[in-house]
Amino acid sequence: MKTLLAIIVLLPFLGFLLNGLFRKHGTYKSVARLACTTILSSFIASAIVFGMLSQGTTAETVKYFDFINTDSIKIPFAFQIDHLSAMFLLIITGIGFLIHLYSSAYMKDEEPQHYARYFAYLNLFIFSMLLLVLGANYIIMFIGWEGVGLCSYLLIGFWFKNDNFNYAAKKAFIMNRIGDLGFLLAIFWLIARLGNANYADVFANVHNLSQTDITAITLLLFVGAMGKSAQIPLYTWLPDAMAGPTPVSALIHAATMVTAGIYMIARSNVLYSAAEFTQHIVAIVGLTTALFSATIAIKQNDIKKVLAYSTVSQLGYMFLGLGVGAYTGAVFHVMTHAFFKALLFLGAGSVIHAMHHEQDIRKMGGLKKYLPITHITFLLGCIAISGIPPFSGFFSKDEILAAAYEKNPVYWGLGVAGAAMTAFYMFRLYATTFLGKFRGTHDQEHHLHESPAAMTIPLIVLAVLSVIGGFIGVPEVLGGKHLLGEYLSTVIVPEPHHALAHNTEYMLMGISVAVATIAILFAVSHYSKKPQLEDATGLGKVLENKWYVDELYNTIIVNPLNALGGFFKNIVEKSGIDGFVNGIGRFVNYLSRQIRLVQSGQVGGYILMMVVSVVIILFIWIHDGEIYKFLVTKLF
């Protein structure tokens, strides 16, 4: 097991090193082959590990070496392989591989050295993400956490010659960092109270922590999750992160990095189950985010931005699930969301590729006859995300909503409203892009073609997964066995069984499906015929401008900070410190000029000084050094 895990983690790192260091010498084929092979091998190894665990191998902690070894703190560099991490391993390496395959065709427009740089970063990202999920203590998770943040920055700003993309990358990194502060404080608190941050030790000693401790730690961990998984108020970086290449958006900002927060909280479910207050906060924040970003998505016109806000919204659902105690449900939704969101992003990438980098959906339309495979897979993804049975999204979303109803029917109601909006804007996107007449230029129409196989194969695979992926979590009310729940029960303390009667559950399911279907029909009929081309007014304008949140942040935070920085630069640095340092130089110069006057070159002056010195020496000598003694006793 030790070597298997090492292979899984080190192969992508090796890919990063080779592609990164030799990026000026690679060809398209060699670079792509190297990158995809490493991830594929990691995937196969992850599958082997998964199989071993399913056959009955017990979960274990594999220690490699002592990372920090002092008297008071011992932090081992160890991996924890259990059901939860094995599942995430499969998701990361599987979808990672598909996206690597997709990128090998999508990024062909770049020069070879940038192509190689892209794949190096992508491999580094997979490596960091694997560290994150495999870590056996919060420190190793934090290393991976920072690593994925770094790769996100590098990849968002991949086309670094564009200043706006660089701003977006900086924004992502800085907001991540704010969350990281919370995470770090939680780790420090844990170490201060318990002496180490290993999962096993922490979860076993939960009863040793006071209630304030637990609440504080879980809240701080949630702050970290807020930054990484784009919840209110740290979500504005995700839509801007669409500046990166589309496969990056698919991998990082849909399927893996943003789910790191969910993973962390799911991993810490023991802690969260003991902190009621935090759970309320998590649920409320998640629900608010889900609704808020859904409203924004309704009015966006960039195909990737719609998907970005959709991601934020779905992440809100996952946090809602975590907040009401449905840890399994949230993890289930992570998996299904990874499938269909990656599919949707890759499909969008295919559309953008065909439209020669046009991203405004108002200029698209009627693409279904030009891009058949993309069309079908995109449609399947939309249905899945809207929660229509028997697609995967239905099962995972329903599980969360049922648990929400159990906690508080208001949560459920709002959740259903959010689901309706989700269905609405997704099908608005679908209809505007694929149905109706083509609204682009003649030139673009001529160049429309289906994407190459390297791009369509991942689409097809992901579409299949989105369709059938839900069947591992069929709730027993519908007659199935909740395989995922059983699988994860070793890690996630199973929630107290639903007190819902079967009838209630049927009703809940029915209502959500019906609402979603109505929204879909409305959206399709409305948008396939007359797409909205004119600029929105009124509430629509507010939604289109993302409720002016970015502007708000700018005025409250960014501009004052810039002003403060400017103040420090001009007054403190330039006048103060520079002035002081330069002043010393000027002062020394001045002194030397004055002292230089002593050397007048006049011999007479020199003789005068000689005589005066002799007088002084004789004087002191006569009085037997009394002067010195006098001075010394006076001064000291």
Binding site: G604, G605, L608, V611, V612, V614, V615, L618, F619, I622
Partner: protein
Amino acid sequence: MSATHILFWFLSALAVVSALMVLFSKNPVHSVLWLIAVFFAISGHYILMNAQFLAIVNIIVYAGAIMVLFLFVIMLMNLNKESEPRKNVWMKLAGAISAGSLLMILVSLVGQATEVSHKTLIMKDGNIGLIKSLGKILFTQYVVPFELTSILFLSAMVGAVVIGKKD
């Protein structure tokens, strides 16, 4: 007050006054003349102390040769009345004060010194100042320095000639 004492005081006064006049004369020729007066006074002191040889040598060498040389140079440069611009008053003051303080200190030193508090010297007796005894010692004990002085003179001559060449 014997004649020796009176002579001593007279010669001392003459020496000091002449030295002061060397300092304060505007005309360099006058300064030279006053310096010659100083030399005569000092030679008088030598004679008082029965250092005859030195007295004569002082007159011949210093007053006779060196001062004449000075006069030649002054005449060569035609410095009849001092044509130098006024020196900075502060410098003059500083010079005078420092010399004065040196004098004070040295005088106080003398007052404090115990080795010389009760020593006296014999003025008129003693053979050591006579040419005979001095010469005897010079040519027996100190003959090497004597020869070396001749070489010194040679080098001085050569130096003076080389420096003074008009090339």
